[in-house]
């Protein structure tokens, strides 16, 4: 049990560090600009249409606070943290006066759904295929799968999403290329709505899976081809243990351990990919919200999304880290 608490503490410390450094980077970035961000943002936000002078004054006040332009640098820094801690990023400029947090909350389920489904599919499929490819090295089918996965792997999310958009939007228009569900459809819990949801998520999920698959595939393939040379696998073969049992409980089971750490390590990159993919397909999640808030000059929303992203990703990493000992008994005891 002592081993586990040491592990737990170190993971919590890492979590705190990620949040600390992440938020500080946001602070530094927002204070590195030489221009007056407040006036610039207000100008950008109000350039189309008329906004009442009171609203502008209110925006200015909240922005000055949010930018941390009130008081000494130290006070600015503290008030920045205070805002982050309570999740209060003030009202949105582009959707005034809706609070930023409301907008983000509305978008989060879409992103979480997209990320969860695509990451689970990618991780399981990539590891299964890669594991088979490492174990049955002579299968030409698996080798071909490897080449395919390797071909997509180095291409960035944007390009793959874009290619899918071209193929299914212009060349062979069978899948919806934009939105989260059919426009004007009532959001009710019925089959048509769910079907529409699935159809709209098909392309974003596919492009995330296509890009992500190769990494897990190759990682697992090389892990497995190392693990099959481990003594315990050779020994199980010598012991006449059933092939399927060896593959599952010896080879795969041991190879998966580093892949879980790998998942935690690459969540940030996967999240980046989801943002971009959402934007390409106009999926109503956090990514699309982020890009459109930049175009609308909505500072509070951009900052809010950045901060929430950092918090969300590091929390998920922490969750994976906490589950990790279930897979690897060696950190549980010691």
């Amino acid at each position: 049990m002592r081993g586990y608490s040491v592990y737990l503490l170190s993971r919590l410390g890492q979590f705190a560090l990620v949040v600390f450094i992440g938020i500080n980077i946001s602070f530094i970035v927002t204070h590195a600009t030489p221009i007056d961000p407040v006036e610039q943002s207000i100008a950008a936000a109000t350039q189309y249409g008329s906004t009442s002078p009171e609203a502008i004054a209110m925006m200015r006040q909240s922005l000055r606070e949010l930018y941390g332009l009130e008081g000494s640098p130290w006070e600015q820094y503290l008030s920045f943290w205070r805002r982050v801690a309570v999740g209060d990023f003030g009202p949105s400029l582009s959707a005034f006066p809706t609070p930023v947090s409301v907008l983000i909350w509305r978008a989060i389920p879409w992103t979480v759904g997209l990320l969860l489904v695509s990451t689970v599919i990618t991780w399981i499929l990539g590891n299964l295929l890669g594991g088979f490819a490492g174990y049955y090295r002579r299968s030409s089918l698996l080798r071909f799968a490897g080449i395919l996965a390797m071909a997509f792997h180095p291409i960035p999310y944007y390009i793959v999403a874009f290619l899918l958009l071209i193929v299914f939007g212009y060349l062979w228009p069978v899948l919806p290329i934009s939105g989260g569900y059919m426009m004007n459809m009532e959001r009710a819990f019925n089959l048509t709505f769910i079907f529409s949801l699935l159809k709209h998520s098909a392309l974003p999920i596919s492009s995330l899976v296509l890009v992500g698959l190769g990494g897990w595939f190759m990682g697992m393939r090389s892990l497995v081809s190392n693990v099959v040379n481990e003594d315990y696998v050779t020994y199980a073969e010598l012991g006449g243990v059933k092939r399927r049992r060896i593959l599952a409980s010896y080879v795969m089971r041991n190879s998966l351990v580093p892949q879980v750490t790998g998942l935690a390590m690459s969540l940030g990159a996967i999240f980046n990919g989801a943002i971009i993919t959402e934007q390409v397909f106009g999926y109503p999640g956090v990514g699309t919200l982020l890009i459109s808030s930049v175009h609308a000059g909505d500072y509070s929303l951009v900052l809010g999304i950045t901060t929430v992203s950092i918090l969300a990703v590091s929390t998920t990493v922490l969750l994976i880290d906490l589950l990790y000992p279930l897979l690897d008994p060696r950190v549980r005891t010691v």
Partner: protein, 285 residues
């Protein structure tokens, strides 16, 4: 070194393909030096012409020759990738070598910071950066920002190699002969980590080019310096696909994919070459 490259070229299909693809890309970017048109001039040729002689890749709606524009774009894109890779190499080398050599607390602290940079979602931060910079955003500034954010993954790899070096005999000898840590790291350890630095460079270039393309396509960079991403950005601004000007999009996308695949294959084959197990069966005997 030349023997290594020759061996790789002859016996490793991935390496050979990667080299050929990259040579092709470099050739195209070199062509920018003989371009008849400066990159930022528009309406120098008739607009919207499909690929045909003498505009082999067609022309844009802004009256630019896609081929010549592409030569500038890929040159800038590659240059961007190299710059980020070079700058971030310095950071990852210093941090990786020191952490691996020092071990103990120093290692733990450095690797915690390192893992933090691996985990943090960089894209929103870069977007935020653009947001506060706006018009002052430049190619160089973006390269700098990305170098500061993108060193962590490779620092970890370098550290693991450095850690194995620490226990070797020559390190002990160097310590007893009174070499300073800086000397040991630069003179003794650096040569051993160079191969892995080389392969991570390829991956890092891929990573930075990928992000650059993405940011540019969204318009979150300096849209007046032509890069592959900026090219696609302008094509999208002119709704090239809807207007049927597909060549404005297709060729940049193809070229950048060739670049990605080429760099990736180089990194993969290099890794295989470095891998101690495959090396073991090569030397000796």
């Amino acid at each position: 070194m030349s023997r290594v490259l020759r061996d790789l070229f002859r016996y490793n299909r991935e390496f050979a393909i990667g080299i050929v693809l990259l040579a092709f890309v470099l050739l195209i970017s070199a062509a920018s030096f003989v371009s008849p048109y400066p990159p930022n001039d528009s309406f120098v040729v008739p607009p919207d012409l499909p690929p045909s002689w003498p505009y082999i890749l067609g022309t844009t709606s802004r009256g630019q020759d896609v081929f010549w524009l592409l030569t500038f774009a890929i040159r800038n894109t590659l240059l961007f990738g190299f710059t980020v890779a070079l700058l971030s190499r310095i950071l990852s080398l210093v941090i990786g070598l020191v952490a691996g050599y020092a071990g103990g607390l120093v290692d733990r602290v450095l690797m915690s910071i390192n893992d933090t940079f691996i985990v943090i979602p960089l894209f929103p931060i870069l977007v935020l950066f653009y947001f506060v910079m706006r018009d002052r955003m430049s190619w160089a500034l973006l390269a700098l920002a990305m170098s500061c954010l993108g060193w962590a993954y490779d620092a970890r790899l370098i550290r693991s190699v450095a850690m194995s070096l620490r226990t070797r005999e020559f390190t002990e000898t160097s310590i007893f002969s009174g070499m300073s840590m800086r000397q040991i790291l630069v003179e003794e350890h650096l040569p051993y980590v160079l191969p892995i630095v080389f392969s991570t460079t390829m991956n890092n270039i891929n990573w930075s080019i990928g992000l650059e393309v993405t940011l540019s396509v969204l318009g979150f960079t300096d849209i007046n310096t032509p890069t592959i991403g900026v090219l696609i950005y302008w094509a999208n601004q002119h709704t090239a696909l809807v207007a049927g000007v597909w060549w404005w999009i297709l060729f940049p996308v193809m070229l950048v994919i060739i670049t990605f695949v080429g760099l990736f294959l180089l990194a993969v084959s290099m890794n295989e070459y470095i891998d101690p197990r495959s090396r073991l069966s090569r030397v000796g005997g």
